[in-house]
Amino acid sequence: MIAIIDYGMGNLRSVSKALEYLGASYKLCSKGKDLSRATKVILPGVGAFGDAMKELKSRGFIGPIGELVARKIKLMGVCLGLQLFFEKSEENPGISGLGIFKGTVQKFRSTNVKIPHMGWNDLTVLKKHPLLEGISSGEYFYFVHSYCGKPAAKDLTLASCKYGREDFAAVIGNKHIFATQFHPEKSQEAGLRILKNFIRW
């Protein structure tokens, strides 16, 4: 069963609709303990890092998410979901993230471009991953964000994207965890392909 973490932060409905469109069944989970039977989990999210961590905590998700990572349950983060996988964010310096990946979330450094980065931008695929099957460099995805994750381990970055003069991690992941800074559920065919790969993963 695919569980979608429902913690009151944004794009949950567009993610669940996209899964419905692809014919996959899913469960919305609004409490940490509901995750125990999940075989795959999606952490969506739009909004501020600190608010999101507060909501995850108050709904009892922190422990259960740690457990699923330990049990190697497949986990996908979308947008803010990706950022929450890191240890901390410049957005709310005092607040700890999930800490699944070493590294921090930083504000865009480029001064010659508009922040937030909103709209279509193309990827450079750096590494193979089952969820990127059928996706090649130059394909466009839809982004809305002001911050981006900087993984300490360089090999976690599966695909990058350039905004202004800055290359940032657009897709990160390893064997069991995958996350996109863009919104696959809003990225038309290419985005749906990633979600389809996730359903099959």
Binding site: G10, N11, R13, S14, K17, E20, Y21, V46, C79, K114, P116, M118, G119, W120, N121, Y140, Y142, V144, H183, K186, Q188
Partner: protein
């Protein structure tokens, strides 16, 4: 939910009509490409371009503007107005348009069947409704098909996207009729884009919580041009 800022083109200019009245036409810009770039900078995922002259005359007229928009923005382009022939659809798709909208001509069954089997998801049908009747020919002539009849027919003919316009609500900034929209959503398998009636950011908020899985998004026109809210605000709200 996706947002489709609208660019209505009439004689090469960006304009808005109120309730489909060609006499009540306001010119917002002389440069459609600049308008498209502006929407893109505010995060537009799609841009809805309408050839108003084409919608009226039944012939494709704004090819140059359309080509320039497609070349200059990465946002996906949905285009309608004046598409009555297969070769015109081929032509605009070749320019880089992602989805075409058929109005009047789509109500000819044989033609519609032909284009949905040829172009599949690239076809959307504009469903212009006034008093529960589907209108045709750039809103000037009355169609003779009721809304439920039209919805059933479009499903049977393989239409995957409908653009639903409540003409009474279009360009008058009074808020959309969500009851009617939910009726449409419940009676079709197609994805439905709402056009007409979005007048303030709270209308976006109301649409955002629509549960129907086939609700695809909203077209926003006059409210953006009148600066009732910014597209970027709506993009952030619906991301």
């Amino acid at each position: 939910m996706n947002l489709y800022p609208a660019i209505d083109i009439y004689q090469g200019k960006v304009v808005r009509l109120t309730q489909g009245d060609y006499n009540a036409c306001i010119v917002y810009s002389e440069d459609p490409v600049a308008t498209a770039k502006g929407w893109e900078q505010e995060g537009a995922q799609w841009i809805h371009v309408v050839d108003l002259e084409g919608a009226k005359t039944g012939t494709l007229t704004c090819v140059a503007s359309l080509a320039a928009i497609c070349q200059n923005v990465k946002a996906k382009i949905q285009f309608g107005g004046g598409l009555r022939q297969i070769q015109d659809i081929d032509k605009v798709l070749a320019l880089g348009v992602s989805r075409v909208v058929l109005g009047t001509k789509a109500l000819d069954k044989a033609f519609l069947k032909k284009v949905t089997s040829k172009f599949k998801e690239k076809i959307a049908v504009g469903l212009d409704v006034r008093h529960d009747k589907v209108k045709t020919a750039g809103w000037i002539h009355d169609g003779n098909i009721t809304l439920p009849e039209a919805l059933k027919l479009f499903d049977q003919l393989g239409v995957t996207t409908l653009i639903y316009t409540d003409i009474e609500k279009d360009g008058v900034l009074q808020g959309p009729s969500l009851e009617k929209l939910s009726l449409v959503l419940a009676n079709t398998k197609a994805r439905v884009i709402l056009s007409g009636g979005i007048s303030q950011i709270s209308d976006i908020e109301k649409c955002r919580i629509i549960q129907a899985p086939n609700f695809e998004g909203v077209i926003i026109g006059k409210a953006l041009y009148d600066k009732r809210f910014r597209l970027s605000e709506a993009v952030r709200l619906t991301a």
